[in-house]
Amino acid sequence: MENKQPVIQIKNLCKSYRRGSQIIPVLENINLEIAQCEFLALMGPSGSGKSTLLNLIAGIDKADSGIINVAGTDINSLSETELAGWRAGHVGFIFQFYNLIPVLTAYENVELPLLLTGLSRKQRRAHVETALKIVNLSDRMDHYPGQLSGGQQQRVAIARAIVTDPAIVVADEPTGDLDRVSAEEVLELMERLVNELCKTIIMVTHDPRAAKKAHVIRHLDKGVLNATPQAYF
C-alpha cells in the first residue's frame, strides 16, 4: 500500500457555509492522501463534514481554500464548466438513494454518462453491457428502476458509476437504504471494483460493517480529520 502513488492529495483544505450573516466552518485544515486502488471509508457523526469532503473530492462543490489534487489536476482551480467535463471523465458517483432516472430503463440509466463521450451507439452498447455484466444485471437491462429492488437499483447505479471507466468512485452512504443482504452484495461489488478493476473508492458511511470492507478508515469530527488512519488490511 505504501508503495502506491497517491491519486488524491488534499492539502490545508478549508470549507465553510454562510447562513445569513453567520459563517459556519465545516472543514478545517484537512490534509489527506489517497492511493490508487485504495478503498477508503470516511466515518463520523452527522454534521461532521464527511459528505462535504466527499463532494469537494468529487468536484461537485468548491473549497474556500487549500488544494485538492486529483490525478495531477488541482480541481479547486477549475471553472464550473471545466469541472463538469472533469467529473464526466474521472469520477463515478454512487448515492444513498441510487438517484436513477425513473423514466429510463436500467440500460438507459447506465448509458447516460456515455452520452457526453464521442462514442458511437454500438460502442456505448458494448460499454453498458459490460458494466451491467460486472454488476450481474444483464438480464434486467430493460427494467425500469421501479421494477427493481433497492439492491438491484444500487447495482445499476454502480454500473452507471463505472461505465466511463473513471479512476475514482465516490459513494455517499451506498448501503444506507438497503437491507443487510443487499448491503453485503453492494459492498462485495465495491470490493471487486477495487481489487479487480483497480478503482479508487472513497465511501462515506455510518455503518461500521460497511467501513470494515474498506482498506482504510478515516474519522471526521466537527470538520477535523483524525490524525491516524485506521487500516484494515
Binding site: S51, T52, N55, A58, I60, D61, T81, A84, G85, R87, A88, G89, F93, F95, Q96, F97, N99, I101, P102, V103, L104, E108, E111, L112, P113, L115, L116, R160, D177
Partner: protein, 385 residues
C-alpha cells in the same frame, strides 16, 4: 435522440397532470381562436372592400336620401368609370329573427361593380329582365331552401307593405371572404311602387356606389363628387368603400377591443396554469437535475430538457386546440350567420395560436429552468429522500 426521448417521457410522468394541462391549453387555444375569428368576422366587410370603389351618401346622415339625378353628374366626373346606386331595404322574411341584408340596387351596374359576386350568365340575363326578380347569395338560399323561380315575400319596414320577389339568380363568392348571404333586387321595382304609394320618396337613393379608374385617384374623385354637390339641398359625403365600412365598425369599436383583450387574457391565464405545472415538475426533479449535473451534463442540457417538456405540452395543447377550432367555428358561424355572414378561421389566427403556444411554453419554462440550472449540485442532491 436521447434528449427527445427523455423530454417525451418526462412530459408523461404525471399523466393526469399533463392531460389536464394539455386540455386546459387546448380549451384556451380554442377560445383564443374563436375570439380572434369573431374579431376578424367583425372586420370582414372592411377586408372584402375594394380599393377602386367609393361610396357616396348624404353628408348629414346615411338615413337621408340623395336625388337619383346625381347619377349622371357623378358619372361625368374625371376618374369615374361606373356608377350604381341603391337603398337599404330592411325587409323582414316571415319573422324578424330571420335577419339578412337586403338591398334595392340597379342590378346591371351593381354586378359590374362587384365582380366578386359570381352569377351564372343565364341567371343574370333572366334577373335583369324580370323587375320582380332578385338574386341571393348561396348560403342564404341554402339556409332557407329556396329554389330558382320561388316567390319570396318580404315585409317592408322602411318601405311599408308586402313585397313579392322571384328568385332569379344565386351568386357565389369569388373566395371565402365574400359575403354569400346578401339579397338584392331591382331598385326600379321599389321606385315604381313608391311612385304610386309614397310619391315624395320616389327617385331618391340611399347611396351611390362609384367605380374609379384606380385607387390612386380615390381622394381626388371623392373630393370632386362632394364639391359638385356642395351647397345643394343634399350635400354628399364620399369616401372609399373601406372607410365607409370602417365607419360602421367604429361604432362598435369598444366591443371589438374588449373581445381582443379577453382573447389575450385567456392566454395569460393559461400561461399561469402552464407555469405552475412546469414549476411543480421542475421542483420534483431538482435532485435528478443535480444528478445530471454531477454526471457532467451542463446547464444547456437541463435547460433544453425543461424548455422541451414545456414546449411539448403547450404544442400538444395547441395542435388539439387548432384542430377543434375549425369545427367549433363552423358550428358557431352557422348559428350566428345572421350576425356574422363571413366566419372563417384565417391563417393569421392559426399563426397567432402557434405563436401563443410558443410564448406560453417558453415563458413557463424560464423560471424553472433558471432554478434548476443555478441550484448548487450539493444542495440539489440534498432534496433526495
Amino acid at each position: 435522440m436521447q434528449l427527445l426521448k427523455l423530454i417525451f417521457k418526462n412530459a408523461f410522468r404525471h399523466r393526469l397532470r399533463t392531460f389536464l394541462t394539455i386540455t386546459g391549453i387546448s380549451i384556451a387555444i380554442l377560445a383564443f381562436g374563436l375570439l380572434r375569428t369573431v374579431v376578424n368576422a367583425w372586420y370582414a366587410g372592411v377586408e372584402a372592400s375594394a380599393a377602386n370603389r367609393l361610396v357616396s351618401r348624404n353628408a348629414i346622415s346615411l338615413v337621408f336620401p340623395l336625388p337619383l339625378s346625381y347619377k349622371e353628374k357623378i358619372r361625368q366626373i374625371e376618374g369615374v368609370t361606373n356608377v350604381s346606386y341603391g337603398n337599404w331595404f330592411g325587409g323582414v322574411y316571415i319573422d324578424e329573427k330571420n335577419f339578412f341584408a337586403n338591398f334595392a340596387v340597379e342590378p346591371k351596374s351593381y354586378l359590374e361593380l362587384y365582380p366578386e359576386f359570381i352569377l351564372p350568365q343565364d341567371q343574370k340575363a333572366i334577373l335583369l329582365r324580370d323587375r320582380k326578380g332578385f338574386a341571393a347569395g348561396r348560403k342564404l338560399v341554402e339556409k332557407y331552401k329556396w329554389k330558382l323561380g320561388d316567390t319570396v315575400v318580404l315585409k317592408g319596414t322602411i318601405f311599408p307593405g308586402t313585397w313579392d320577389f322571384v328568385l332569379r339568380g344565386v351568386y357565389k363568392g369569388r373566395d371565402k371572404s365574400i359575403d354569400e348571404t346578401q339579397f338584392f333586387f331591382h331598385w326600379d321595382y321599389l321606385n315604381e311602387s313608391l311612385k304610386k304609394s309614397f310619391p315624395m320618396r320616389a327617385d331618391q337613393v340611399g347611396f351611390y356606389l362609384i367605380g374609379i379608374k384606380n385607387p390612386n385617384v380615390a381622394a381626388d374623385v371623392s373630393e370632386a363628387v362632394d364639391r359638385t354637390f356642395k351647397n345643394s339641398l343634399a350635400e354628399t359625403l364620399t369616401e372609399t368603400e373601406k372607410a365607409f365600412q370602417m365607419s360602421f365598425i367604429s361604432m362598435s369599436e369598444a366591443i371589438v377591443v374588449a373581445i381582443q383583450l379577453v382573447s389575450f387574457v385567456v392566454i395569460i391565464i393559461i400561461m399561469a396554469v402552464m407555469a405552475n405545472t412546469m414549476a411543480m415538475s421542475a421542483r420534483e426533479r431538482i435532485a435528478e437535475y443535480a444528478v445530471l449535473k454531477t454526471l457532467g451534463f451542463g446547464g444547456t442540457y437541463i435547460t433544453a430538457l425543461i424548455f422541451g417538456e414545456s414546449l411539448f405540452i403547450s404544442s400538444a395543447g395547441c395542435i388539439i386546440g387548432i384542430i377543434l377550432t375549425f369545427p367549433a367555428a363552423k358550428i358557431f358561424g352557422d348559428a350566428m350567420s345572421q350576425f356574422f355572414p363571413i366566419f372563417n378561421v384565417s391563417w393569421n389566427t392559426v399563426y397567432l395560436d402557434v405563436a401563443a403556444s410558443v410564448v406560453v411554453g417558453g415563458a413557463s419554462a424560464i423560471i424553472p429552468a433558471y432554478r434548476a440550472v443555478s441550484i448548487r449540485i450539493a444542495e440539489g442532491l440534498r432534496r433526495i429522500g
